[in-house]
Amino acid sequence: MPSDRKPRYLVLSSGQVFRGRAAGREAGVRGEIVFSTAMGGYLEALSDPGLAGRLIVFSFPEIGSYGFIPEDLESERAWPAGCVLRSLCDTPSNMRSTGPIEGWLSEQGVPVITGIDTRALIRILRRQSSLEAALCDFDPTGHSWTELCALIPAASVRLPEPEPRRWAAADFARKAPSWVFTLRTPLWTPERSAAEGLSHVVLLDYGTKHSLVREFLRRGVDVTRLPASAGFSRIEEAQPDGIVVSSGPGDPADYDLTTLKQLIAAGYPIFGIDLGHLLIARAMGFATARMRFAHRGQNHPVRDTASGLVRITSQGHSHVVRADSISSEVARLEQIHSGDGSCEALVYRHAPILTLAYHPEGGAGPRDTNGQIDRFFNLMLNHAREARHAS
């Protein structure tokens, strides 16, 4: 709602200026502008490292209605360079809320602009595959985009190197956030992991969300997080049952693939999510491309090409594995987006590798495809059995 807040401006590199009101930290930041059509899950989105350095537009007109809930964060901090809203709720209500989200956003250094016709903005954005934008507290009218670029610094899209860390499944039951216990028991139980001798995965962290880690912990395996730069030998030393390649920000073409290629060659079971899916595809020789229309939302239908079954997924990517580059000798295009037909899941033929363009862990969003994680456990199990058999 309009208020006594100071004016703030959103400028698109294509020239449009939107005047709104300021919230959060003072503004003076520039970055790629993307939008999400999700109706809920703003905390998860804001704490998703995949949004690092971007300006995020939420299509839902009121953000913050259930407040700030620390345990729902998907990482330790907020990542977007700025946040573009119709309105920000300052009187939230939820049993777990510790207060309005604005305080947290300010503390995290995220500037917010409110009062924007976000729908008009998204109608502009959806016609462009990529657009830069800036948030500033001075009236930018009359300045060219080049001038503004000189005045307003670009946000960093690079994530800090994650600290190596090991989470123990045994601790999980004690330390997990309360909502974890609302999740339906996975098909793959901790008991089963114990019985089958699966105990440990390495998470190659390009900017993961906590939810993905929890999915492994609640199935009874420890998770060792290593930065992508850790190198093959360090991962090998950890003796994992499988490798999880996480989601993360940016263009997959900008990442080094050496370690991944080594892991693939070594025959590890690998599970790739979002950026991980794209990186593995590139490591396997497939091409990726920026999508004309990015997928950011919680309502994306994905169809299994064999069974025809459709499941709703949570997505947040702007790149895709080019279908024409997928060699059917190497991988099977198992799932496609039922809207635009783009690649959503690849099952590799000669390696225990399953990769998904979407987020089966939800966080935030539907968990209809959570069984894909169980499927990876089966891959790990088969691999382990074969390895035992071989030895």
Binding site: P2, G40, S59, M95, T118, Q298, G308, G339
Partner: protein
């Protein structure tokens, strides 16, 4: 999987008359269903007893039966029409229950008919209390501790295990009829007895009460390949304890974090998958606001009121998709008509909020018990779309037609704090306004939350509005005195959805230059895809924020002249689905004439607000500001007010003043009909008689006597206001007037009493179309009940049995001179009294009336179409339906009103001058007896030919009641009557058991007491009239209410009673009536009988 080619002919079962809990949403669903079937080339056989529906239109289906919705009729229709499948899930609970019965009995299998949409085991698991509990237990979904019982004694013992407070829910009832919350055994005894009675299978659920939990609904769609999506979540502002139909609801849910949301969403999907629903399904949850505990409250494996709301709130057409799924398609094969790019498997996402507000009938039925609970009481609802809960709520209030444009309800300030607290914790329809009042008194959010458990989010929002109103009020003191309202405050007000007029009134200031609104599209995808669907809502944004008006893009593509049709708002008593029928027909007629048509309406249940009805839909309250704005935006060449009932008509003078052309009768013509003085002058000039009348303050007994003596007895007396203790009465002498005014003065309302000459005659109703030169009258309708009963509550017959050629000519001539005299163009509705071959005018409405769909259907004359044609300049003579009186049909049609008394405690069921019916049914037959029988059966009268008839009538009715009694007696009924009535019966030499009117109170008096007699079980009919009704404390009212509770048909007019006896007397039965295909009426009934017999025997 593509559609099943074996399904070529489908029977669609409608939901029957509009009653509380089952309203226009099923016409919307049925219409969508028919359209989808048509697009697939499937032949449609439609059955519905309700003529006021779009779905029963000639264009909607191949064969249309407006017949009673019962098993014998459906079996006959199926035998005769040989469908491949029956669609069970689009006609509400009525159709679902009937389909299930047809399936259970083996009839469908025997006749090779498939049940489409829901399998019997799905229906069983969702609908049967035990089946439901077992199913939820099987998939680990929590439910509330409960027990199913079939007696009061078992209920009492079950409650001990389940723990008080308990909720009583009867099995298989509409809108939770007969349920309630019991805090102790005494309350339970009463509620359980009532609940058992209401349940068709005499079964109730005793359930632990979780009042105060959040109530969350999900609409789910699943196909036979097990693909399933959630269309929409909805959060009830009123927590568990108030029926969702009586709750204010927001879509999407707003106080749930992703974790709670996904918890419930996943649960909804697994429930729908386990039940094997193929189509739409509604799942209701209760969620503990303090933990992740939840419980599944209810599952409706069919299209419902909530699915209509979800469809309108998202733009995702659930009924249409459900129909395609029933034909075998999967979600991934069904294109999303909104985007044209995506498929039905895309889960909708929205970039606004929608708020639904119920419309209650308590303004009409002032004695109805207004407390809200598990029994739904609302007749209709409105929806408002905006970008905040506050704005959507304000827009909903503006559109609810309750005389408010903000949350400030005058009168509440008079309540003490204790009273206010009670109104908040024991909610009525006014709770929202009580919350606002309490916040204004400085009560804390926590204090209020403790009283009502309404989530703090909503309380904060109401406080924002209260704070804003206070800021407006303090703007009164701003200086200089004549400066306009501060522009920031104005922008804030517009962001909150306030109308300019409200802002000006509350601030006492002029307004700054008006802020142009923008219109945003409802597109199912939050702008992610280019959408083409012309479905818009109105919003105010700071112009600097990038505000874009998307409607302009659509309007820019328009190449045809544009016309705006005003809708009729929420369904309420007196303004029902009939007006939506007219609005939709007006749209179609004008489109056919080459216009681009725009509709403005805010009722989510209706066909008119389906996005593919008009060229553009503006989902907005029909207020002056909105209408003017849209007319200007569209550069419309005219506005149709004639089809939107009073909602639209009342804007006429403002439209005229603004120079906006009105299609059809002008504002002046409408005013002439409504202004008593102008109308009397017109009648005088035309020499048309009307009953003489005058008004007098209700305190002036002497004045009333003088007027009555001047007019001459008998006279009709009625208060000019609805509130009060009295019905219309017929006064025969001075004593009657003294008594009446004595009673009315007791209520000291300080209003007027209308005193009119009472002409006890036959009431006739005429709808005509006038082109300024000629008129066309499709037919005359005659009311069975004489003067004094509201025309909407009367049984109407067409053609009128008591109108001969001479009278007919008189009616045609009178109607012609009235229509021409008023200068009316288009439709005009006139009510007459016929007495001694003379005609009096009672009322004229120069607009589409309640009877338009009924008459259009039986005469085959497209009345709205013709009205639109003449309104745009055509002449009746050129339109092919002739002028004057249309040819008398060779059959008889009867319209019988249907009431929702069992949903509305304490409402007197006696027919009177105020309309009480919520819907209607039609019967069509070769003669009056047959048509009447069918209509009475369709309306739910059992027409049993044995048992006792209990009579207790007012003095004036003694004689006629005795004559009716004689007719019942000759049919073999035993007569029981209260002393006065009994004496009159004995005078005719008939045996009668006399019973006491009042509880004798002491044991030695052996006279049976009427209420005890009523409960004995074998009373087939109660005939009860009284001079003074309404007050629920009166014996006569209590008697009639008891009959409602016991399900005993109660006749409150001697005329209705005579009609019933006629029906009982006739030789017709369920098997021997003719089934009439309305779509083939032109062939005549006899041809159809032959065809039917041929089909049934081959």
């Amino acid at each position: 999987m593509p559609r099943d080619p074996a399904i070529r002919r489908v029977l669609v079962i409608g939901s029957g008359p509009i009653v509380i809990g089952q309203a226009a949403e099923f016409d919307y669903a049925g219409t969508q269903c028919c359209r989808a079937l048509r697009e697939e080339g499937v032949e449609i056989i439609l059955v519905n007893s309700n003529p006021a529906t779009i779905m029963t239109d000639q264009t909607m289906a191949d064969e249309i039966y407006i017949e009673p919705l019962n098993i014998p009729t459906l079996e006959r229709i199926i035998r005769q029409t040989r469908p491949d499948g029956v669609l069970s899930t689009l006609g509400g609970q009525t159709a679902l229950t009937l389909s299930m019965q047809l399936a259970h009995s083996g009839f469908l299998t025997e006749h090779g008919v498939r049940l489409l949409g829901a399998r019997p085991d799905t229906i069983y698991k969702a609908e049967d209390r035990r089946g439901f509990k077992d199913a939820m237990a099987a998939i680990g979904q929590p439910t509330i501790a409960s027990a199913i019982v079939e007696s009061v004694a078992d209920a009492l013992s079950a409650a001990e295990t389940v723990c008080y407070p308990v909720i009583v829910r009867p099995a298989f009832t509409l809108g939770g009829s007969g349920g309630g919350i019991a805090g102790d055994p005494d309350e339970l005894r009463e509620i359980a007895r009532n609940g058992l009675m209401q349940s068709p299978i005499h079964q109730i659920l005793i359930e632990h009460c979780i009042a105060g939990w959040k109530e969350i609904e999900f609409e789910v769609v699943r196909d036979r390949d097990d693909n399933a999506i959630t269309v929409c979540s909805m959060e009830n502002i009123d927590p568990v304890g108030i029926h969702t139909g009586d709750s204010i609801v927001i879509a999407p849910s707003i106080t749930l974090a992703d974790k709670e949301y996904q918890l419930l969403r996943s649960a909804a999907l697994s429930i729908v998958r386990y039940l094997g629903v193929e189509g739409g399904c509604n799942v209701q949850f209760a969620l503990d606001p303090e933990s992740f505990d939840y419980a599944v409250i209810e599952v409706n494996p069919r299209v419902s009121r909530s699915s209509a709301l979800a469809s309108k709130a998202t733009g995702y057409p659930i009924a249409k998709i459900a129909t395609r799924i029933a034909l075998g398609y999967t979600l991934d094969e069904i294109p999303n008509a909104v985007t044209g790019e995506t498929f039905a498997s895309f889960e909708p996402t929205i970039d606004y909020v929608a708020v639904k507000m119920p419309k209650w009938p308590f303004d009409k039925l002032v004695y109805a018990k207004k407390e809200l609970g598990t029994q739904m009481k609302a007749t209709g609802e409105v929806m408002a779309i905006a970008d905040s809960f506050e704005a959507a709520l304000i827009k909903a209030v503006q559109g609810a037609e309750i005389g408010l444009d903000s949350l400030s309800l005058p009168g509440l300030e008079a309540h003490s704090d204790e009273e206010l607290a009670r109104l908040i914790s024991v909610p009525t329809h006014e709770r929202l306004f009580c919350l606002y009042e309490a916040l204004g008194r400085g009560w804390t959010i926590e204090r209020i939350h403790a009283l009502c458990r309404v989530d703090r989010y909503f309380l904060h929002a109401i406080r924002q509005l209260r704070d804003f109103d206070e800021a407006l009020a303090s703007a009164r003191a701003a200086t200089p005195v004549d400066s306009p309202l501060d522009s920031d405050l104005y922008l804030r007000g517009k962001r909150y959805g306030y109308l300019d007029a409200t802002l000006a009134r509350l601030s006492g200031r002029t307004l700054p230059p008006p802020l142009p609104p923008v219109y945003k599209m409802v597109d199912t995808c939050a702008a992610e895809f280019e959408a083409t669907t012309p479905y818009f809502y109105r919003l105010h944004l700071d112009p600097a924020s990038g505000a874009e008006n998307e409607a302009l893009i659509h309007i820019g593509r328009s190449r045809r002249p544009r016309i705006v049709v005003l809708g009729s708002g929420p369904i309420r008593i007196g303004q029902g689905i009939e007006f939506d029928y007219s609005s939709v027909h007006a749209v179609h007629a004008l489109q056919a004439l080459g216009y681009e048509v725009v509709i403005i309406n805010n009722n989510p249940e209706t066909v008119s607000t389906d996005f593919d009805t008009a060229d553009r839909l503006y989902f907005e309250p029909v207020t002056w500001e909105v209408v003017e704005d849209i007319v200007r935006l569209e550069e419309a060449i005219g506005v149709v007010v004639a089809c939107g009932g009073q909602t639209a008509i009342r804007l006429t003078s403002r439209l005229a003043a603004a120079g906006i052309p009105i299609l059809g009768s002008t504002a002046d013509s409408i005013d002439m009909a409504e202004d008593r003085g102008r109308f009397d002058a017109l009648l005088e000039r035309l020499e048309i008689p009307r009953p003489v009348g005058d008004t007098v303050p209700d305190s002036d007994t002497e004045g009333a006597l003088e007027i009555a003596r001047r007019i001459g007895y008998p006279v009709l007396l009625r208060p000019s206001y609805v509130l009060g203790g009295q019905n219309m009465i017929i006064a025969r002498d001075d004593d009657d007037i003294r008594e009446y005014l004595g009673v009315i003065q007791h209520y000291a309302r300080g209003g007027d009493v209308l005193i009119d000459q009472y002409i006890r005659g036959i009431e006739l109703e005429v709808d005509a179309i006038c082109d300024g030169e000629d008129i066309l009258i499709p037919g005359f309708m005659e009311h069975i009940e004489r003067t004094g009963v509201h025309s909407g509550d009367s049984i109407a017959i067409c053609p009128a049995p008591h109108v001969d050629r001479q009278i007919g000519n008189l009616i045609v001539e009178t109607t012609r001179s009235l229509a021409l005299g008023l200068g009316s163009i288009g439709l005009i509705n006139i009510q007459y009294i016929l007495h001694d071959s003379r005609l009096w005018v009672i009322e004229v409405n120069p607009r589409a009336s309640r009877t338009v769909p009924f008459l259009s259907k039986i005469t085959g004359i497209p009345m709205i179409d013709l009205a639109m044609r003449v309104s745009t300049g055509a002449k009746l003579r050129d339109l092919g339906f002739g002028v004057g009186l249309a040819e008398r049909p060779s059959f008889v049609a009867v319209k019988v009103p249907v009431f929702s008394y069992e949903k509305l405690s304490d409402v007197d069921t006696q027919l009177g001058p105020e309309m009480k019916s919520t819907g209607e049914v039609m019967g069509i037959g070769r003669d009056l007896d047959e048509a009447l029988r069918k209509a009475l059966i369709a309306a739910g009268y059992p027409l049993d030919r044995s048992g006792r008839v209990l009579l207790s009538v007012t003095r004036a009715d003694h004689e006629e009641a005795a004559l009716v009694a004689r007719r019942f007696h000759s049919l073999g009924f035993q007569l029981v009557a209260t002393p006065g009535t009994a004496a009159a019966i004995r005078d005719l030499g008939l045996p009668v058991t006399e019973i006491a009117k009042r509880d004798p109170g002491h044991a030695q008096d052996r006279t049976p007491y009427i209420l005890t007699e009523l409960e004995r079980g074998d009373v087939a009919w109660l005939i009860s009239t009284s001079a003074h009704g309404r007050d629920p404390q009166r014996d006569s009212v209590r008697l009639r209410r008891r009959a409602v509770a016991l399900g005993i048909p109660c006749l409150t007019s001697i005329d209705t009673a005579n009609a019933v006896v006629d029906s009982l007397n006739s030789h017709y039965n369920d098997e021997a009536t003719v089934l009439v295909d309305i779509a083939a009426l032109k062939q005549g009934i006899n041809a159809q009988i032959e065809r039917g017999i041929w089909r049934e025997t081959h």
